[in-house]
Each structure stands twice: as structure tokens, then as C-alpha cells.
Symmetry: C2
Subunit: 326 residues, 2 copies
């Protein structure tokens, strides 16, 4: 979107009454036809603007898209989301992130947020498909982390905390974290995270943290099997939410917790994760590529691994895997 279109938008937002084309052209020092061009540009971005020859232009509804311009306004970060890429319809934000990292230095991309209105080939953990219709929040954050490599997947913990806290603060819904990287409301999944890493032992080249949140997503569009397991924020509240404000809140929360990691406050992140967990003190059924067992989830260790007390009394440290709660 052009800078001038933003300025037109600001003028319309300031005013409750319609604003004439002449007023706008005077204020910005542009021609009437330029004003008309910017109005149309705003309309293609999803803003509803009424116009009448007598009264002028009036913003009747803000865009329902997840536009960087709208997110920026609520952002209180120093680097996360300072640069954004908005893509209407792409296979996956993680693919777009990988592409960017192969083209330029990760240092320069640090904090960049890639937003997709919808993903046609969204991916979950272990290459599984991730349904990503419009109305959700599908983003990837590009990071060049200054975090030791054995702590690197704590970034997922920081992300999970950010999503759960944002849901709690913004909507007063009791979101909790399910190990390893989902956020639940009650017994249903509302968000998932996925972190990708490119590294050598000494240096993390880059890491991509992807978040998917079912924000304004109608649950009816999912298959019957998924419908019982998934919820969305709009389904919980019975109305649509302001996704831009909510995403800004997630990014604000994420930056705060990410910076704790960079300053070595691992124990703080661990404790906060624990306080938001719905997995601890539960019966769990664990499946990894090598193993399958049940037990009680008793703790999460200093690196994010789940500690499970098996029925024979021995303890197992689970670094990664699927966790089914009973």
C-alpha cells in the first residue's frame, strides 16, 4: 500500500462524518484524481469506503484482512514485526521464510514477520498437513537467535507462552499449553507452533518460528473428525475478533519472552510454561519414532523435554514426540 493511501486512510479514520475529496486533496496537496486512486487502492485492500458526490468519502468498515498497517499500530516491540511481509495466498509462510533466508543474511531479517491471509499448503509438525483457511492467523517469524543451540527449541516455549497469554489477556479465555507445542482452550486445540532450525554446532544460521491460530475460523468447515478436536477464538466468543490487534498482542508478548531467553532467563521461561501447562500432572500416552508408552507427565526439564513417570515407576525424558492426554 502506498504512503499516500495510508494518509488518506488516516484522514478518514479521524473523522466521524464524511470527508469531501476536496478536503483530502487540499490536506495532502494532491489532485482530486489521485485521491480517487488512493480510495480505490484502500478498497482493494478490503477497507469499505462509501462515497457520495454531495458529502464525500466515509470509512464504513475497516479491512477484515490481517494487514501489516493495522498490526503495526498496536505493536510495542523493538524488533519483532518491525518488518512484515503480507502475502494473500501462498503455499506456506515457512516456505516463504526459508526462501528469504536463502536470499539474504538472516541478521538483516531478524524479527521479520511473514503473514499469509491463507495457506494452500500449510505444514504442521513432522510434515503433516495444517489446514489454514482465511480468518486464521498464519505467520512465520524469522530469527537469527543469540541463544545457545541446546536451548534453541525453548523459542517454541516462548511462542506458546505468548499465544496463551495473548488469548487470556485479550479475550479472557482460559488458554493453556499442551506439550510439546499446541495451545488449547478446554479440550480443544486453538493454536499450534512449529520451529525450524538451520545451524552448525557453534552458530545458528537462522530459526523460523511459525504460529497458526484459529482466530476467526468457522469450525463447520473442518472435517467431522477434526471438528471435535479444534476450536477457534470466534467460536468460543460467538463473534469475530480484531485479528490485527490480537496478532500485535501475540508479537508483543513473544518479544518480551524471547528477550528473556536471549538474556539467559531459561528458568523463568520454564516456570511460566509450567504455570500455563495443561499437560503436567496428567496421564499421557507418548508416541515417538522409537517408542510408545503411557505414564504420568510430572515435569518439564530445563531444555523443554517432558518428564514422564511410567507405570513401572521408571522415568522417561521425552525430547520430542506425540503426546495424547487421556
Amino acid at each position: 500500500m502506498s504512503d499516500s493511501a495510508f494518509k488518506v486512510l488516516e484522514i478518514l479514520e479521524r473523522s466521524d462524518a464524511p470527508v469531501s475529496g476536496e478536503t483530502i486533496s487540499d490536506e495532502l496537496g494532491v489532485t482530486r484524481s489521485a485521491v480517487w486512486k488512493h480510495i480505490n487502492e484502500l478498497r482493494t485492500m478490503g477497507y469499505e469506503i462509501s462515497s457520495s458526490q454531495k458529502e464525500g468519502y466515509r470509512l464504513t468498515r475497516t479491512s477484515d484482512r490481517l494487514l501489516p498497517y493495522e498490526v503495526h499500530r498496536k505493536l510495542r516491540t523493538t524488533f519483532v514485526g518491525k518488518k512484515m511481509r503480507y502475502l494473500k495466498d501462498i503455499p506456506s509462510t515457512i516456505g516463504a521464510g526459508r526462501q528469504l533466508c536463502s536470499e539474504s543474511e538472516a541478521e538483516k531479517l531478524h524479527g521479520t514477520v511473514i503473514i499469509a491471509e491463507q495457506q494452500t499448503g500449510g505444514v504442521g509438525r513432522m510434515g503433516r498437513a495444517w489446514v489454514s483457511p482465511s480468518g486464521g492467523i498464519w505467520i512465520t517469524i524469522i530469527l537469527k537467535p543469540h541463544v545457545p543451540i541446546d536451548r534453541i527449541f525453548m523459542i517454541t516455549m516462548a511462542g506458546s507462552i505468548a499465544v496463551a497469554r495473548a488469548i487470556r489477556k485479550e479475550f479472557d479465555l482460559g488458554a493453556l499449553i499442551k506439550w510439546p507445542n499446541d495451545v488449547f482452550i478446554g479440550t480443544k486445540k486453538v493454536a499450534g507452533l512449529l520451529q525450524e532450525l538451520s545451524a552448525e554446532a557453534d552458530t545458528v544460521y537462522y530459526s523460523l518460528l511459525s504460529l497458526g491460530v484459529d482466530a476467526n475460523v468457522s469450525i463447520n468447515q473442518f472435517s467431522p473428525e477434526l471438528k471435535d478436536k479444534i476450536t477457534s477464538i470466534s467460536a468460543e466468543l460467538c463473534h469475530d475478533i480484531d485479528r490485527a490487534a490480537f496478532l500485535a498482542r501475540i508479537l508483543n508478548e513473544f518479544e518480551k519472552h524471547y528477550l528473556l531467553l536471549e538474556s539467559g532467563e531459561y528458568e523463568m521461561i520454564r516456570q511460566e510454561w509450567k504455570s500455563l501447562s495443561c499437560t503436567l500432572e496428567q496421564r499421557v500416552d507418548i508416541r515417538t519414532p522409537r517408542d510408545h508408552f503411557s505414564g504420568d507427565a510430572i515435569d518439564i526439564d530445563a531444555f523443554g523435554a517432558l518428564i514422564v513417570r511410567k507405570d513401572d515407576g521408571t522415568q522417561e525424558r521425552v525430547v520430542a514426540g506425540d503426546c495424547f492426554q487421556q
Copy 2:
């Protein structure tokens, strides 16, 4: 190299006396001019073949290149090096490996070895330059490891053990491993390793293990500063070595130790690494991006981190960094 050229090579290798073109053409059922073509093909690959109208062809010297054909003959592996790519002159084998992994499934590339005769843009740890003249062994092994992600950098340990053992067995030189990933003879470096990882928490997409060994490398070509710190196998032995046989030995050793990792024998790898270490029980000076301290290297832990007893008596666990031995 064509299959027929291989067959011509085999005939020449079998015979101490010259072999006539007619004998070769009879044995292979090809024309005399085809034989002549294959002889020339072998010559372009670095084999020296004398020819006289009276007596015929004679192999006077095997190729001094690091040809897959020559490596394969000594290989006793089940998957490492079963596929090889030989490149005369490329920026880096690790770059070529990355490219391959972006083009096809890592599963299908598992064990592939990329060999460069020389690298024009060789890289060491943390993006440092790595001088890679012809005469050395510059390879990258592509792996799709079935090793838990917190053990993944133990693959570098398996690689270091393989190089040190191959030098010891093949040449009876007292090679030792310097933490984190170099191989030394006496006080001088003879080889270095670098491992790259592409992963999410649950799945390792691929890992690239790169080895650089100063095999038949003249030390005089290095800068005065490097010359004091680097040695080569040919410099230690005062004669050139058979690089192909040596590389086959490294790959044989590597596969054996890699398979130990895949079957969970971490403690075995750790103990063998320790028995070959020149870092343990030494005074060390450690530099990481965050820290700089001196102390005694007292152990390596179950994940490959160096345990250093600092002068104030406290212990530090060093996951990655530079280690200067006094």
C-alpha cells in the same frame, strides 16, 4: 567415466606387461578405435598410460585424483559412499550438499559423499575461510539421521573418531582429537570437521558432515602464520599417500561409529572420543560469543559438551566455542 573405460582400466591393472590394443578389443568385444577412445578418457582422468605401436598400452601411474572409482574399491560400507559425486573444482562441498538436499529428498541422498578435488570457497566453523588446495581430502557426507536431535552433534564426534582412527591405522601416526572438532598430529592441526543441521524439534530434515584433511598438501603454500599450526599427512610421512585408500578407510570407520549412534550407543562413542582426546586434562582457554575464561578441561559430557574446571573451582559446561590449549 564410462563403464567400458573402467573395464579397460581393469585389464591394464591386471597386467604387469604392456597389453596390445588388439587384446583389449578382443576381450571387451569393441573396436580398436573404441579402445583408443577409452585410453584417452582414462588419461584425462589422470591415469598415466604409455603406448607403443609394438607392445601396446601400459598403466605407468594410477591417477592422482580422488576418483570415486578408486575409493569404491576399498569401501566396506553398507550406505556411506555408495553414491558419490566427484567435482573437480567447486566453491564448497557443503554448498553442493545443501543444493542437493533442496532438490531431492534427503532420505534418498542418505550416505552420499560429495568429493571436491579442491574448494575455491571452503568454509570452516562459524563461516571462517578454510584453505582447501588440491592434494587434500575435501568431502561432505549427506545424512538423514535417525538420531535424537539432542544427540545430533555427536555425529561430529563419530566423524572425528573416524579420521583419527584412519590416520592411526593407515599410517601409524599418533593422531588425536582436539575439542570441539579438529584432529591433530602433535601440536599441529591435520583435519577439521563441520556439521550442519536442518531440523525441527521432532524431525531432522538432513545433516551435512564435512571433513577436510590435509593429506598430500605441501605446507609451504600456507601463510607463515598458518604454517606453524598446520601439518599434512604427506609432510609427516615425507611422501605422498594413496588418498583414495585413505578416504575409503575414513568412510569405513565413520559408518561403523555412525551406526553405533543410530543404535543409541552414545556412551561407547563418548568413551572412544575421550580415549583419543588431546584436550582432556589440559589447561584450556575458552572463548564463546558470551564468555572468555581459562581452566582445566576435565571431561566431555554425554552430549559432547566440554566440562571445564575454572580457576575459582566452579565448573562450566561448554556446548560450543573456541578452545585454545596451552
